[in-house]
Symmetry: C2
Subunit: 187 residues, 2 copies
């Protein structure tokens, strides 16, 4: 059995859980297997997480922090906020498909108390996505605008993750969809 | 055990599978349980479907037909094609949340041969969604426009199904998002 400092083991367990999640999906997550991968016993893992939902919640927190950091950084992109943040959101989802799904509660039992916390994390992301949207400040219609841009980013992310779109140049497609969100479909 | 005419039993099995899917999710689907619900033996069910994937494929076909019919009907709505078809698409997803997910392959094993057929059904839906989009005919940029409107409809459907949006008036929110897809976000 390997030995870890307190915080190190927590992080090592989360890192192993994240790798297992991306490799095999949420249904493959199990405390015993995650412990095995970092070389400790299951009881040692339970010292840091009281159950699997707790680990999933830890992963969702990591995901929300990474996505929020990427959105904040992109918000000052010279290409403009909408394009920059949209690109960053969709790139995060495509780079971490299973982690992105988990941020929407996939793999969490419907009765899990962790759902409340996931809802709170989602609210943070929504607030970031909809913050300072163009037009919003003028018209006060922030809500509909925020839901619109979130729908585009969420929908396109999942269509790409699920391989529903055959595009030779994915980045060009993402940019073209985000530009349409800016200028609209009508001629 | 109940007795059915040939085609009747096939339909009865699909109807029971659909009800079970919506009530308990794709993971609850099992040939034996579906057979039990219509009052026949499992071997009688296997006479119509060679395995569970075959039933799931049958459900996906039903879903694709219903959605296509709803989109075709809405395409001549006096409110305009974009608003009419968008409303119909999102209403179908919200009325049949589990069936809608199944149309994207949820619940199907990744190696299932039924995936090819699901991809074909999806292509049909995409063709309908993107058909005669405004502007598309003029600019020839049909692909990006189709993906854009599909992203909006798919993203908003899933955010609503997953209860990610707290909206007092869902229909008003759907309309406001679809109108933004038409005119764009920028002032």
């Amino acid at each position: 059995m390997r030995r870890y400092h307190h915080g190190d083991l927590r992080n090592a367990l989360l890192t192993a859980a994240r790798a297992l999640l991306e490799a095999k999906g949420a249904s493959a997550l199990a405390v015993r297997e995650i412990a095995r991968q970092v070389g400790v016993t299951a009881p040692a893992a339970y010292h840091h997480f009281s159950n699997l939902d707790d680990i999933i919640l830890g992963l969702a927190q990591v995901a929300a922090e990474e996505l929020a950091a990427a959105l904040r950084e992109a918000g000052s992109a010279p290409s403009g906020r909408l394009l920059g943040m949209g690109r960053a959101y969709i790139a995060f989802a495509c780079r971490n498909p299973q982690l992105y799904r988990l941020l929407f509660g996939d793999g969490l039992s419907t009765t899990s108390p962790a759902r409340v916390e996931i809802d709170r994390l989602q609210q943070q992301i929504y607030t970031l996505v909809s913050a300072e949207l163009p037009r919003a400040a003028e018209t006060g219609e922030t809500f509909g605008h925020g839901v619109f841009i979130w729908s585009v980013a969420h929908g396109l992310s999942l269509l790409l993750i699920d391989d529903r779109i055959a595009a030779a140049d994915r980045q060009a497609l993402v940019d073209s969809v985000l530009k349409l969100a800016g200028r609209g479909l009508r001629p």
